[in-house]
């Protein structure tokens, strides 16, 4: 605390206009100890700059989700989905500060933390994060934007029919409890970490959690009016702005360069490798999904390519630091196939209405990425951590731990999600009225229109 404040004093005192300027600096002879102290201080500053900027990029992913979800839904519900994105971040950031961060990283047991609420730190509270040199609030900031990501994923699958008050309640509960508990298991020194499960930046911790809860929400809500016909066939309900959706995907891709490389939580040159695997997997996901959609539907559908990017990013999130560039491309290409089939499966077979494909992109691809770590990991990229995966001679032990992790998180999210949405349904109601849904949630929930002055068709 002291060392850094000396610089800060100088900064502020002189900004008072005392005109002292850069006086104190370096008047004395350097010693080995003084140099080392300065070097340590500057290393912390460098780490903080990196992790904070990475966190800021992740924060901007909220804009990406907002644009993606808005673009892929109808104009009459645009304000609602935008407000949802804005408010889940607002409520989530405070809820995670109050409670979630303590549950996730505070000292406790193998299942959840029981200390560290409001970032109160006795010095031992956050031992699970001692490996990073950055200040506690930098850890909070970086982890908070992750929590907000998990919460915001859910809304995509529940779009165009959920009561606004329901959004707010579940955002708080997910950010404060459901997400941090999984986080504790894997990143906070919990039981999944103990059995050797790895998830570098959160394919499971963040994306699958969001995705599986989204699944429970979509099931509890039922499909939008007009989505499925009597004969069981499904109608496409096209989104109202592909430009906004595409912008959203570019913003997400951009932000993911904070999400994955930033998860080093320190400035190390490995971030270059992580950025490389991240972008190659996303590119391969887009290519794979576009190709398969072209083959199946006869035309290269933009929505599928966009979801391919997201799926690729989600899948590489767990293994990004542990696999080669070649493996990243393979992981992405598999995503391309998986996401197209998954979207079709949930829609046509299961009749679960997920307006933007959040379940396929986040839950399914998140599970795939977590398992892919068990297949493609190579000891050389982070020696002494994951060891080799199945495809590189490491046997099935790692894959087993990954599988167990995927299943455990699936089970937890399904149970917690159903309980959550059941409670909301009973207490305040989960779904808007039929009239409101037809008219649009913008007018019904918020008393306003998204595009005043534009002519909009209102077919349902």
């Amino acid at each position: 605390m002291k060392l850094k404040n000396i610089a800060f004093w100088c900064l502020l005192i002189s900004s008072l206009g005392f005109g002292l300027g850069a006086v104190a600096q370096a008047a004395e002879e350097p010693t080995l100890t003084s140099l080392q102290e300065t070097l340590t201080e500057k290393t912390v500053a460098l780490d903080t700059v990196w992790v904070l900027l990475a966190g800021v990029l992740v924060m901007f992913m909220q804009a990406g989700f907002a644009m993606l979800e808005t673009g892929f839904t109808r104009a009459k519900n645009a304000c609602n989905i935008l407000m949802k994105n804005l408010m889940d971040f607002s409520f989530g950031s405070i809820a995670y500060w109050l409670i979630g961060f303590g549950i996730m990283f505070g000292a406790g047991n193998l299942f959840f933390g029981t200390s560290g609420f409001l970032l109160k730190d006795t010095g031992q509270t956050f031992a699970s994060l001692d490996w990073s040199t950055v200040p506690l609030e930098c850890k909070y900031f970086f982890q908070m934007v992750f929590a907000a990501t998990a919460a915001t994923i859910v809304s995509g699958a529940m779009a165009e029919r959920t009561k606004f008050i329901g959004y707010i309640i579940y955002s708080i509960i997910i950010s404060a409890f459901i997400y941090p508990i999984v986080g504790h298991w894997i990143w906070g020194g919990g039981w999944l970490a103990e059995i050797g499960m790895w998830d570098f930046a959160g394919s499971t911790v963040v994306h699958s959690v969001g995705g599986w809860i989204a699944l429970t929400g979509a099931i509890m809500l039922g499909p939008r009016i007009g989505k499925y016909n009597q004969d069981g066939s499904s109608n496409a309900i096209p989104g109202h702005s592909i430009p906004l959706a595409t912008l959203g995907v570019f913003i997400l891709w951009f932000g993911w360069f904070g999400f994955n490389p930033g998860s080093t939580m320190g400035a190390v040159s490995d971030i270059a490798h992580i950025a490389t695997t991240t972008t190659l997997a996303a590119a391969a996901g887009a290519i794979g999904a576009m190709m398969l959609a072209w083959k199946i539907f006869g035309k290269p559908d933009a929505s599928m390519a966009l979801n391919g990017v997201i799926g690729g990013l989600v899948a590489i999130t767990a293994p990004c630091a542990f696999v080669s560039a070649e493996s990243a491309i393979w992981i992405g290409l598999v995503v391309g196939i998986l996401i197209v089939l998954s979207v079709i499966f949930f829609d046509k077979v299961l009749h679960i209405d997920d307006p933007i494909g959040a379940i396929s992109a986040h839950a399914v691809c998140g599970a795939w990425g977590t398992l892919a770590l068990g297949l493609f990991a190579q000891d050389v990229f982070a020696p002494g951590t994951t060891g080799n995966g199945l495809f590189f001679g490491g046997g099935g032990k790692l894959l087993g731990a990954q599988t167990l992790g995927v299943l455990a998180v699936f089970a937890w999210c399904m149970i917690a999600g159903f309980l959550l949405f059941f409670a909301i349904k009973k207490i305040v109601g989960l779904r808007v009225s039929k009239e409101e849904e037809l008219r649009g949630l913008d007018v019904g929930e918020h008393g306003m229109e998204a595009y005043a002055g534009f002519q909009i068709f209102t077919t349902e």
Copy 2:
């Protein structure tokens, strides 16, 4: 200058293809002195990387303002408001380089700088910024994007009725003179700094300045046609794209992580605390404004929540480095109330037509944030600077200085603003013709439409 250029030489010479590669490096034995020199050089590089990237984030806020203002106004005026945002940054950056930076930070008297135009530096010229190690042009860049922010705020309140030539003139005058003079008072070693007023990142310096000038502009222009009825009641004129407005708010929130933490003007780990207070205040502002709007209007209005974010960010800008996370939340919650009441007050009571709520968000919340510093500051966060505020046992002295600063800046901006707009009115005219206003400024001022090919209602 020399040290850094050695690296730069190597870089460029070898890029010539001479194939020398990384030759020179580290052939010699290190000494204490050589290590310290290298460490100092790298510290400057780290500081420069941080401040420059922070400045780049602030620059991107121009896109945020452009989207916010465009989204909250009508489609027929979209090109005009966009062009305004583009051109105020363009003219502003050059005007600030030519004149503004010298007035703000150049050596001079307690009221304005009288040297340092075109960044000419005799070595003593910019003593008021000597506390930061970064190169002069980095200081210029970071301060320039702040100046452009102050200038761009004004246009929101004057939207949909101002002549384009008027925008250009006032952008130049604000960036070159009005804003830098206030900046000199508080950040350039001027009289308000002397009496102990603090404004870490510019609630008053940037936002209130923009906001109060906006107020004079809105008064001088009068309301848009159709805004107020004969009986004194007010009509809502809804914006044409809530998605763009929301995107704008997310971009602004994103950019504010350059605005506030970057105001350290050096890489220090305190940036984590600043980012934390910044985001919590914004979140609390959104929550507070949404809640109150819900209570007053019966529905959670999106515009109010969006303005709550901006208001929260504006308010925390002054105290972000000096207050606790808890205090930041309180400051934000008060913003939530303040902004809703302020918007209603200016609209319904004073009949001042501010299309996007710029006066409330920037002037009122900026004043609140500056005063809040006097209430919530705690010595522990930046020892030896502000001391404790009123709520933490520091007595009323700090609050007194803050109040004086708020009032002085208010007075200066009102006088300068009225003179400025009066002069523009006399010389080139301030407001477009009634016909042009009804038809839209896009066609009238720019000979084009924002959405060619879309059907747009033209009600006024």
Copy 3:
């Protein structure tokens, strides 16, 4: 590799929950050697953080191009142009990893590299990049986003009439071969570097390459239906969303602060000077173009001002590190004139239909910027590199080399471009059918609409 991994081990091992915390750190006494090693390691980390973040900003320019091109074209072709932007980045990043990077920077001859495919490095392979300390994958990442920029420029001039399959093919060929060959000449130790041509961040390498290939594409395609009348006069075909186009320009401006300052490929304080010249030239470009358009057309046209920003940014890209702030403003002002006249010339005189003005902004302004380096360069900014240009007493030698470079790249791109598009035309066809063009490429190529639910005029 070892040093950095120690930190990484600690990081990951402890994240397993072993609770070791920050143990190892600094138990031993520091020595001169240990301090120097740590300092070197941290310098690499700092350089990597900077270059990676700069690359991430450049990556985001893809969103900028997507929004700019979409906004400046018609609603019926929006999905197509968006998909193109998404897929050229996806294919390009993999193609450049597979082939392009090796051709550009791998050891080979004066004309192209013949090694280093898939980033395979024998230790001598990438000697042309040894001047930068960052890891190889960081170099790849930074250069890859440049390659993708060159490829994406082309689509703007070919918008609204090109077959989607054609886009994909040329994106791959440009990223893998055409662009990297020019890159090798100038940045990879090739013949233009040998003769003393300079291009700091790619006015010629990136922008002119994209722009000249765009020219060949536009010629080979012919104009859009309805663009030119029988009498030879030209019709304006206005873009459908100036807000998106403006957002795109702001994103590009934002990303350019990675493009130019990041081209130091290391953290040096010169980045401040580069950012300053960059923004001043862009501002001057906007002002110049707006003024001239105002004079010629009677109104300040938004499209011209937006293109003025792009042109200014393109032009300053080559000389940004070598010229003064004053010179940057002059370079930008000339752009303002050049781009307006160039757009008129290509449209009215040559009847080459370039929907977004890509040829003028990238090829013409890129050539201008490369020549301007020969006029305005001053030895003082990067001693021992370019020397002084013509206007600063350096004689015409530098200008001669620049001119030769511009001409050589023009010739190469025209030849390669024509061959490329001729081949595509013969093999899969380059242009969509007349029916599809009239109906829009969104439905024809992708089976979808960009704005489902909005009323859109379909005049052609």
